[in-house]
Symmetry: C2
Subunit: 252 residues, 2 copies
């Protein structure tokens, strides 16, 4: 991609994993509510995702957007996810179309489908269980944060259908630094390693697609999310698997 890639919510955990892994591979423009705390070689725009003027300044000239900004708390109150996540997504999608952005990568969440779990757990977190979600199911959010992420996916569907914007929603699992979650089967089922995270978003910037919903997890034995669309459409080739770890030690 020749044009800059706008990374919103750049200071968050996912943004840092992306910059750590593929920070040298694109011409980044970082957007966050606060200036970066450390030095950065990248262009920076400071602003709030609900401020249309700031968003327009950030989007102008970008070839792609990775939209991570928003309230990331699963327990966030409705007023916050309504404003920051739902309204924020609509603001930047609308500007992206006006500014002729080619690809829009949306940070969705496992919480958009969290309510498939209660009646099936803990079995669905275990390798023997064959229940899978593949992204074609209707959302069943586990919380209002998950509702807001599902709404963002639907907004993306509209902007794709109406304006031909390439849109991929990545339902991010449990991203950690270092080892997978310990003594937490759900987290091991949806673990996303730092390496696989950066690689997946790299795929989202380089592949060709129309509208996709994919799951952002490593190739965990325990997984109940299908990686088929991510592999087939995006070329995602995850290298990590929570089953290769015993606690904080890699054993395979």
């Amino acid at each position: 991609m020749d044009e800059p890639v706008l990374l919103t919510g750049a200071a968050g955990r996912v943004g840092q994993a992306i910059l750590d892994g593929i920070g040298d591979d694109y011409d980044w423009r970082l957007f966050d509510r606060e200036p970066p705390t450390g030095d950065t070689d990248h262009e920076v725009v400071v602003g709030d995702v609900t401020d249309e003027d700031a968003v327009r300044e950030a989007v102008a000239g970008a070839g792609a957007v990775i939209h991570l900004a928003g309230d990331p708390r699963p327990e966030a109150p409705w007023e916050s996810v309504l404003r920051n996540n739902i309204d924020g997504a609509q603001t930047i999608l609308d500007v992206a179309v006006e500014e002729d952005v080619e690809k829009f990568v949306f940070a969705s969440s496992n919480h958009a489908v969290g309510h498939y779990e209660p009646e099936r757990k803990p079995d669905l977190y275990r390798e023997h269980d064959d229940f899978h979600l593949d992204g074609t199911e209707l959302p069943r959010p586990g919380n209002l944060y998950g509702v807001s992420k599902a709404a963002g996916e639907t907004l993306g569907r509209y902007y794709h259908d109406e304006h031909d914007l390439s849109f991929v929603a990545v339902r991010i699992g449990n991203l950690t630094v270092g080892h997978p979650p310990i003594d937490y089967e759900r987290g091991q089922a949806m673990w996303l390693s730092q390496h696989d995270c950066a690689h997946l978003f790299d795929c989202c910037l380089s592949a060709d697609y129309g509208y996709e919903i994919v799951f952002g997890i490593s190739d965990n034995d325990r997984k109940y999310y299908s990686l088929e669309r991510a592999r087939e459409v995006l070329g995602y080739d995850p290298q990590d698997n929570s089953a290769e770890w015993d606690g904080d030690e890699k054993v395979v």
Copy 2:
């Protein structure tokens, strides 16, 4: 149902069709932003659906809610559907759970799935075509109003899963007074007669269900929405069919 039924947006076209058809069959409480223009035998609460206190007053003691209130314009701007339709739906769903409402009937719309049409029209409006939507597909809104209706369906999914509220989304087609739309194949495909409208909402108040998405249309030969769930789960038995009309004249 022994408790009152709250009807929000009672003054609108759907509300009037419901009251005309089954106005004597329930103990209604009407909620709208303006007092009724004519006489009414029903209890009235005046308020806005985004005003939580007004909503609480309206919901208190109701056994069921039919939620029609919101901006009904397919071309409504984002800020209006965000506030009136999305935030409004969350406000009343949240209050409904707190107030132990048993059933929540949500006026969704054909516009939640409007973007399935462009690549298939006009064939999908014709009897020979066998393309059907059955409500299990991911939404493809035709406009931001449709996005807001899809978001309401997802909010209902959350409140059902989390709080066991019985929720049915009725994707209302093209409701008319009298004859079906003339020279408008799409409108004939998704026509909803006054009679069938009132009967369908009657079914939504009397049937037992968990979470459902159904299509609110008559039994039109031209239909591309499945009526299977409405028939099976709700006992919907539509009596009208746009094919029985020639212009404004019933010929069958």
